[in-house]
């Protein structure tokens, strides 16, 4: 008869932040998937550019720089409260987490509002030509990410006020990671949408 031995794992913690948490890996996996989509959107943009002699096509001005650049600044600035949330939540500091999440929510409202103005200044319609189609899809796809990230953060803010369990704090931590992704992925898109038509 073989002697049986048991490893007692009762003392292990229930939650952890960062790459020790399965949720972190799930978030990263979805970031990779969406990153691949953004990369293919950019590839499509460049591909369609190759089919035209003039870019943007004659009669269309490049997107207006003002709102796009302002929103880029807002998005970059939002990394700061996001970072504070990340730090606070991993220190299990509930009150600081709540405070900074509110600041983050404020930023979310701001960049969504400016995004609406941005869409008004693209100087092309999606059904004008293929250039317009791809510009609108890049903007639309990123706006969709801004929107879902904002809604998720709002819901998590609510949860931090009502049931700040450690499990939800792990969610908040992963949400800050996702927020970073949504902001950082914008930088190449900003260059593509606003500057490529001026350079190419």
């Amino acid at each position: 008869m073989k002697r049986t031995v048991f490893l007692d794992v009762e003392a292990l913690p229930h939650h952890a932040f960062g790459s020790r948490s399965p949720m972190w890996w799930g978030t990263v996996a979805f970031m990779v998937i969406e990153g691949a989509m953004f990369a293919m959107l950019v590839a499509t943009y460049v591909y369609l550019r190759g089919a035209e002699n003039v870019w943007p096509p004659p009669g269309f001005a490049p997107p207006s720089l003002l709102w796009g650049s302002l929103n880029t600044a807002i998005l970059l600035a939002s990394l700061w409260p996001n970072h504070k949330v990340h730090k606070a939540v991993e220190e299990l500091d509930v009150s600081a987490t709540r405070r900074w999440m509110l600041v983050g929510d404020l930023f979310a409202v701001m960049f969504l509002a400016v995004r609406v103005l941005e869409l008004g200044g693209l100087n092309v319609r999606w059904d004008s030509n293929a250039y317009g189609s791809i510009v609108w899809l890049v903007m639309g796809f990123h706006t969709f990410h801004l929107l879902t990230d904002a809604v998720e953060t709002l819901v998590l803010t609510g949860m931090m006020y009502t049931i700040p369990s450690e499990r939800r704090m792990v969610d908040v931590s992963d949400d800050t990671l996702y927020w970073n992704f949504v902001v950082l992925v914008w930088l190449p898109l900003y260059v593509v949408v606003y500057w490529l038509p001026r350079w190419l």
């Binding site: 794992v9 948490s21 996996a29 499509t44 991993e90 509930v94 317009g132 499990r167």
Partner: protein, 661 residues
């Protein structure tokens, strides 16, 4: 205040795990508690809300097999139509719908989902855990898939089946040449099934990375798990391309964007690039998990580990990478620059190398083991023979001059059926014979199995071998009829007879399953004396998986000396706790509680599917759909009662900690 978890010295984890001679509870009590915690609620409600990976995996497989039969009936109809020249069974319009349905269903609703279903069913058991990492998301993925498939076939019954082929090329599928809703049905089907595929991929990746049995370091995971891991990574990078092209197509048709309209700066070839950037890896997404079946079966039936584990793993990974460099060989006739064509020819030849490595490793295993020629191994041998033939014609098609001659002929039809049926369906049947005893506690009949194998092998070759010659004789694919006197009659008739034999083989399989479910020979834990961990579980396995999670001591699972002597105790059987281990070495790290059963994944899937269907008609569908979706997801994520108590308890601890600095 508690110090942050991540700053703890890494050595501390190991000290928290202690050895003891006894589990926390007697086995009978543990079993009772686990069954109560992991069991689903009774009746239909329990069925609709279940998040068990066994349940969801079985549903994927059964649903996919139903679609296999439906698409197979479509194939028989086409063969009947082509049995003689100028036949009047199917008219041109119906024929277009049938071949599109056949291809679309086989690729998107059968081949990929059946492989995913096996992964969802087997991976947690092989890793020695109780469920996948995100059980509710898993259920959501299945419901989306089921709704998507039902939508396609429901639309077909209404006469709006897509009719532009399974790759739905523009401009044919664009707004100008495909008015009506048929192409939209195709586009939305693709978007829904790809979401489901991506979900399975994430489940497999995270479960494999974080929920392996203690001690199962990355170099000890079974070859089957490696194969589905590689498949999952391919899904992650390939599916976005087809989703994007599906979105472009839907937008071109709905809101008059111009992605594929050459008159407004669009480009029809953009479709082909995006589609085949997905479409070629897709073939390997189907084929790579089948390689995992083959490795499992070969090991069990030769009673030795597969020869060359590192070579096998590297070959799988290499196949995954190279498969992304082949897509242009589907586009050799589109007039791309010659340098580009040469590159893709080279890559297409290159991918034969890792496949060859694996085939030689299996041959070495067979040669040095003691093979038992049970039905699963017969299917594996059938796979090797047929797939090698398909591989040879693949190497032929990779060369541009030959491809230009036979492009869009029956030669191509012959080639990809050899690759897909040989490469995936043969191993799949082997896998069903192999794991059926685990899932249902009874073995399938060996005698019927041998007949089924024989009929499939003969029927398959009768059907598809003549198509090589038909292709050389110039018969194009996707024609609903042909004129007499072209010399195509006899070979077509032969192919039709072969298709009937395949149908007979599938009927025999269905009969075998029906019979064995009730009267099959009881299987016991491990009818094949195999090595992977699922064979240590009772058959059928209890809903919670292993009673005590196993600790792994080597690469060969149950065949290792010392296997089955060390287990994990200390997980709370009152909650759905699983052991989370670290990425490389699988050292115990956390005990995490998985969420319970829930109706909200189903509700969310219904809302998403309705939104996609609505988007065929109005661009406002996503806006309208997002409102119920928001509430469904909110309900999905709402904490359960235990978590509220947990939160209050943690709050008290934090305040107590703050009071005593």
């Amino acid at each position: 205040m508690n110090p942050p978890e991540r700053d703890e010295p890494s050595g501390r984890r190991a000290r928290e795990v202690v050895r003891r001679d006894e589990p926390h509870r007697p086995a009978a009590e543990e079993r009772r508690l686990l069954a109560a915690t992991w069991g689903r609620r009774p009746g239909l409600w329990g069925w609709l809300t279940s998040t068990s990976h066994q349940e969801i995996g079985r549903r994927y497989i059964v649903t996919a097999l139903v679609f296999f039969v439906l698409a197979g009936i479509g194939a028989l109809l086409m063969r009947l139509q082509l049995a003689r020249p100028e036949n009047g069974l199917l008219g041109p319009d119906l024929y277009n719908q049938v071949f599109t349905l056949h291809g679309t269903t086989m690729m998107f609703l059968f081949a990929v989902p059946v492989m995913e279903g096996f992964a969802i069913y087997l991976v947690p058991m092989m890793l020695g855990t109780r469920n996948v990492a995100f059980p509710r998301l898993n259920a959501f993925g299945y419901w989306l898939y089921l709704l998507a498939g039902s939508f396609l076939w429901g639309a077909s019954l209404l006469g709006i089946a897509p009719d532009a082929g399974w790759f739905s090329y523009v401009p044919l599928a664009g707004p100008e040449f495909s008015p009506g809703k048929r192409a939209d049905v195709w586009a939305q089907l693709i978007n829904l099934t790809e979401i489901s595929a991506l979900i399975v991929a994430v489940e497999v990746i995270v479960t494999t990375f974080k929920q392996r049995a203690a001690g199962m370091s990355l170099d000890r995971i079974p070859l089957y798990v490696w194969s589905v891991l590689v498949m999952s990574f391919m899904v992650v990078f390939a599916m976005p391309a087809v989703m994007l092209s599906g979105v472009f197509l839907a937008l071109d048709r709905l809101v008059a964007t111009h992605f594929f309209n050459p008159f407004e700066g669009g480009d029809a070839l953009l479709w082909q690039h995006l589609f085949w950037f997905f479409g070629h890896p897709e073939v390997y997404i189907i084929f790579v998990p089948a390689l995992g079946f083959v490795s499992s079966i070969v090991a069990a039936f030769t009673r030795r580990p597969v020869f060359g584990y590192p070579a096998m793993v590297l070959a799988l990974v290499a196949t995954g990478f190279i498969s992304f460099g082949l897509w242009v060989h589907h586009m050799f006739t589109t007039g791309l620059p010659q340098l580009g064509e040469s590159f893709f020819t080279a890559a297409s030849l290159l991918i034969a190398v890792p496949t060859g490595v694996q085939i030689f490793c299996w041959i070495a295993t067979l040669a040095t083991g003691r093979p038992r020629f049970g039905v699963p191994l017969l299917f594996v041998l059938g796979f090797v023979a047929t797939f090698v033939l398909g591989g040879l014609t693949g190497v032929m098609l990779a060369s541009v001059p030959l491809d230009l001659q036979v492009h869009d002929t029956f030669f191509v039809v012959a080639h990809f059926h050899y690759v897909l049926i040989g490469g995936a369906v043969f191993p799949l049947f082997g896998a069903i014979y192999y794991w059926f005893p685990k899932a249902f506690g009874r073995r399938l009949s060996e005698r019927l199995g041998r007949w089924q194998f024989g009929l499939l092998l003969v029927g398959f070759n009768l059907t598809f071998f003549p198509m090589h010659q038909l292709g050389f004789d110039g018969m194009p694919r996707r024609v609903y009829t042909y004129l007499p006197g072209r010399g195509w009659e006899n070979l077509n008739l032969l192919a039709t007879v072969g298709a009937m034999v395949i149908g007979l083989s599938v009927l025999l399989f269905a009969a075998n399953v029906m019979r064995s479910l009730r009267r099959g020979e009881p299987a016991g834990h491990d009818p094949w004396a195999a090595d992977t961990l699922e064979w240590a579980l009772p058959s059928p396995p209890p809903v919670y998986g292993p009673l005590h999670l196993p600790v792994v001591v080597g690469r060969n699972g149950l065949w290792e000396p010392g296997a089955g002597t060390t287990f994990v105790t200390g997980l709370d059987p009152h909650a759905r706790e699983v052991l989370v281990t670290n990425f490389l070495d699988a050292d115990p790290e956390l005990r995490e509680t998985l969420p319970g059963d829930s109706p909200w994944p189903l509700v969310s899937a219904v809302v998403v599917a309705a939104t996609f269907v609505g988007a065929m008609f109005t661009p406002w569908a996503p806006v309208i759909g997002s409102v119920p979706l928001f509430f469904a997801l909110l309900a999905w994520a709402m904490p359960e009662k235990e978590e509220r108590e947990e939160a209050r308890e943690q709050e008290r601890q934090r305040q107590a900690g703050a009071a005593t600095p």
